[in-house]
């Protein structure tokens, strides 16, 4: 039996018909067509499916979709404005904090929350690494990802973010 689910997805109120057992990951990918939300371990270990739930990063594979009724969910597609990459995204491209790209959308959402929450506090290497611990990357060795986050925070502090 399908049930209706209404929540704010990437700034827009959205309603899907879902199965009660579906995870947020499945609903975002299958009904929502947000294919940036990547499926890998489905056990909350890899972080590839990270999205923001009420501004906090979560592994969407561990969230029951029905539980997000009325909540706000943001995927990396939600960072894009008028087709333009968000400055956070641009930092990852410029610094090559991306190789195969599979962990990237989840990494972006975690980094976005980290930078938002940091306010004016400049993020150090150690703080960034600790925050991104739950997002596994097998290609980059994380070095350019950390660099990307630092560059992105500078752009935030310079008022370039939307």
């Amino acid at each position: 039996m399908k049930i209706p689910l209404t929540f704010v997805l990437n700034h827009q109120k959205t309603t899907f018909e879902i199965d009660p057992w579906q995870t947020l990951l499945e609903v975002l990918r299958n009904q929502g067509r947000k294919t940036s939300v990547h499926r890998s371990c489905e056990e909350g270990e890899c972080g590839a499916c990270t999205v923001l739930l009420n501004n906090k990063p979560v592994n969407s594979c561990l969230v029951l979709a029905a539980s997000v009724q009325g909540a706000s969910v943001m995927t990396s597609e939600g960072l894009v404005k008028n087709g333009r990459p968000h400055p956070l995204m641009k930092a990852f491209t410029d610094e090559l904090g991306i190789q195969c790209g599979f962990c990237t959308p989840g990494m972006l959402m975690n980094a976005y929350a980290l930078i938002q929450d940091a306010g004016d506090t400049v993020l150090t290497d150690a703080v960034i690494r600790k925050a991104l611990e739950g997002n596994l990357c097998r290609c980059t060795g994380y070095i350019n990802i950390v660099k990307s986050v630092m560059v992105a925070q500078k752009s935030k502090l310079a008022g370039e973010w939307w």
Partner: protein, 784 residues
């Protein structure tokens, strides 16, 4: 320049899991819960009864509709032991490893297929295990393949140079061993694909995470008995590969399911299945003796390397093939008198063995680097002094090594000197003494390596074939086709840079096309990218440039040597104001005034067709037998601190100096270095696949097969030297695997250095905290 990266960042990637087709069904494999068992019966009736199930494919259907998996490498004729197994993609009589598929359920949705997979009921009769190398080699051991004499699949024997002379010349001989645990490369994205069998045309097309579409096509076509010309394999965006997505095997079943159902069939591998039934690597044991003079001159090696290959079934020789580079690579970058190396590969009841960054060429280097550091200790030399004494010198290139490798170029002493300078080696050694006084254990590791890159082994699927096509379209943009799939290693950036430089174009107008099986080539395995495909692309672009110059000279009414191609424009050297864009140029050549407006002689020569397809092959391989064309150089120095109470190793400093010849894009090269080093650190410290006594794999997820997170990964200081390779078209060398070799060896060496007061030999990776503690306990006699 970074078109692909910008697309992926915007969430517009199309990975295997994102593929959708009309009327698509979903396939889920049913895996064996046992490691070695006879299949008594399979009951699929309950699964078939579940609403939404389309069909269930078992070994019976596979045997009825497909052929045995095709042989990929066969060296039986050489007089070596080389056994192959005749196996179908799904076995119908017995299972040989934990997780081996016994059936595939096809259903309307993946969820239904997963549920139905639980309803497939299989009765097994357990068989005794050949669970590890030692058991498998015992006389009378349970056989993995009944028709083989025993479980030994491969036994290769090599004599390089004059090993007996080397040992006769020696002042001393030292026994050395090394063990590497079993690992998996484990990209974050597992394998997946969609097979679409067109029943009207009897053609098959597949899309998925294919690292080597051309080889996959051959293997899938051969299995299904469809002519290769009627099969097309497309690589989509690939979420990391590292060699683990070369192999096509479960994909063959997906293709069959599509043929049997007449529907597009999608398979997306659960990540745990990728660990239990995916390619494994390493799991070797070296036992040898190294011969040397008292002044530190290295002379020779006699060694045997034992491989636990797991099952042979799905590989057909490709696992066995990796024993060649394992046996050849101990020569590394030094001068030797002779080596005798034997490589033994044994099948066991574990998942199969295939490529992962390093493949085999890493194993000999890690072994010999450890051995050389033992020799240095024995002679009271520093690790740098013994290397400096034995390096092949810059003026000696190209150097014909005793194992027939033709080493292309390099300045080995300069690379090591640079690393020592950056690492402040003397300062760290002083610091080590200071910390020792405080009861702390700092260790400094030093390792140098060359990476044999760009493989070409005739008589097998790793033969070195490659093809590239570069063309200009009528709107003046450029298409680049090659066999180099993008697996995150910067194919698009590299190809676009090469072609833009040669044609004098803006890289934005260069379109590097996705790889399909339409183009001949092995793909980007064995760090071939910067060697074979890049050379083929560069060659094609240069030939295309000649056509452009000829046509432009005619159109601009100037001589060919007056034609300048720059920044997307074509103009006479003495009249830049007469410039035309590539778009204007292409339009003129193609349509207005069109070919008839060109010199008839040019038409006869087909110069007006701005399209070049060409091939490239190593200039050294055919005559020398060198199975690699380029050899990039690296030096790794690491300082670690070992907490002897917890056994935890912390990396304090990491320096990597690298010479990969001409650098096409330094950001891409640095990215490869970072990633490879962290993978090597993972192997050195944490990563190990553990099978229990029943042959069941114990760690199948990220929570217990530990890969480095951002917290464990250290910062890395990098410097580049650039000694162009004389053998590749661009001067660049393959380098994708070098970083994983030196990093694993150097971390283990540094731990051993830290534990010097205990006299511990660190020759058994991974050096997990548990293992380090047990070594210390044994050394100090504190219990077992």
């Amino acid at each position: 320049m970074k078109k692909r990266e910008e697309r992926l960042i915007l969430g517009k990637g199309q990975y295997a899991d994102d593929l959708e087709f009309n009327n698509m069904a979903h396939l889920v494999f049913v895996g064996s819960p046992h490691a070695h068992a006879k299949i008594v019966s399979i009951d699929i009736t309950r699964a078939l009864a579940l609403p939404g199930v389309v069909t269930v494919v078992t070994g019976k259907e596979v045997a009825a509709h497909t052929r045995h998996l095709p042989v990929q490498a066969n060296f039986t004729s050489k007089g070596w032991t080389w056994r192959l197994a005749e196996i179908y993609a799904i076995s119908s009589d017995k299972v040989r490893w934990y997780g081996e598929p016994v059936a595939a359920v096809v259903a309307e949705t993946e969820e239904i297929a997963r549920q139905a997979a639980e309803l497939v009921s299989v009765r097994y009769d357990l068989l005794p295990l050949a669970g590890d190398l030692r058991t498998a080699l015992n006389p009378g051991a349970p056989k993995v393949y009944e028709d083989w004499e025993d479980n030994k699949q491969v036994h290769l024997v090599f004599d390089f140079g004059d090993p007996d002379k080397a040992f006769a010349m020696a002042d001393q001989v030292l026994s050395v061993t090394n063990r590497e645990g079993r690992v998996t490369g484990l990209p974050i994205e597992p394998r997946g694909c969609v097979g679409v069998y067109d029943t009207k045309n009897d053609t098959l097309e597949m899309w998925g995470s294919f690292q080597t579409p051309f080889l996959a096509r051959h293997n899938i076509s051969a299995t299904l008995g469809i002519p290769e010309a009627k099969v097309k394999i497309n690589a989509v965006d690939i979420g990391g590969a590292f060699g683990l997505k070369i192999h096509a095997w479960k994909e063959n079943v997906v293709a069959l399911a599509s043929k049997l159902t007449g529907r597009p069939v999608k398979w997306m591998e659960p990540h745990r299945d990728f660990v239990t039934t995916g390619p494994h690597q390493r799991d070797v044991f070296w036992d040898g003796k190294i011969a040397f003079k008292n002044d530190g001159t290295l002379l020779g090696l006699k060694a045997t390397v034992f491989h636990d290959l797991g099952v042979e079934s799905t590989n057909k020789g490709i696992a066995a093939l990796s024993i060649f580079p394992a046996c050849s690579s101990p020569t590394n970058m030094y001068k030797w008198v002779g080596m005798h190396v034997e490589g033994i590969g044994t099948v066991t009841n574990k998942s199969f063995y295939c490529a992962y960054r390093g493949y085999g060429k890493d194993k000999g280097i890690k072994f010999i680097e450890g051995a050389i550091n033992q020799v240095a200790k024995q002679l009271n030399m520093t690790p740098e002094a013994i290397r400096m004494k034995n390096f092949i010198q810059p003026h000696e290139f190209p150097y014909h090594q005793i194992n027939n490798y033709v080493l292309d170029s390099g300045d080995y002493p300069a690379v090591l000197n640079k690393a020592m300078e950056m690492a402040d080696l003397d300062g760290f050694r002083k610091h080590k003494k200071e910390l020792a006084d405080q009861g702390r254990y700092l260790g400094i590791g030093l390792v140098t390596a060359i990476e044999p890159a760009g493989v070409a082994v005739p008589n097998c699927q790793m033969g070195g074939i490659t093809e590239a096509r570069v063309l200009i379209t009528p709107d003046g943009s450029v298409e680049v086709h090659s066999d180099r799939t993008e697996i995150g290693q910067g194919t698009e950036i590299s190809h676009a840079t090469i072609v833009a430089d040669i044609l004098g174009m803006d890289p934005a107008h260069i379109h590097v096309k996705r790889v399909t099986s339409d183009f001949i080539g092995q793909g980007p395995l064995s760090s071939r990218g910067a060697v074979y495909p890049a050379s083929a692309v560069a060659k094609a672009a240069r030939l295309l440039r000649e056509k452009v110059v000829k046509c432009a000279a005619w159109l601009l009414k100037i001589s060919q040597d007056q034609v300048v191609l720059e920044k997307g424009f074509i103009y006479p050297a003495d009249a830049p104001e007469k410039k035309i864009s590539y778009a204007q140029f292409a339009e003129k050549v193609f349509f207005f005034p069109g070919p008839r407006g060109l010199d008839p002689e040019m038409l006869k020569a087909h110069d007006h067709l701005l399209d070049v397809t060409t091939t490239w092959y190593s200039p050294t391989t055919p005559e020398s037998g060198s199975s690699y064309t380029s050899f990039c150089v690296s030096a790794d120095i690491a300082a670690v601190e070992v907490d002897i109470d917890t056994g935890v190793t912390q990396i304090i400093k990491y320096v990597h100096v690298h010479d990969a010849g001409t650098i096409i894009n330094s950001q891409v090269v640095d990215g490869q270095i970072h990633g490879g080093i962290i993978q090597g650190i993972g192997e050195a410290l944490y990563e190990g696949l553990n099978y229990d006594e029943s042959g069941l794999l114990q760690n199948t997820s990220f929570s217990n097969y530990l890969i480095p997170t951002s917290v464990e990964a250290p910062d890395i200081e990098i410097a580049h030297l650039e000694t162009p390779s004389p053998f590749s078209e661009t001067g660049s060398k393959g380098m994708g695997e070098a970083p994983i070799i030196g990093s694993k060896a150097v971390i283990l060496d540094a731990i051993e250095d830290a534990l010097t007061p205990f006299g511990i030999r660190v020759n058994d990776s991974p050096a997990t905290p548990e293992k380090v503690r047990s070594w210390i306990r044994q050394a100090t006699g504190q219990g077992r």
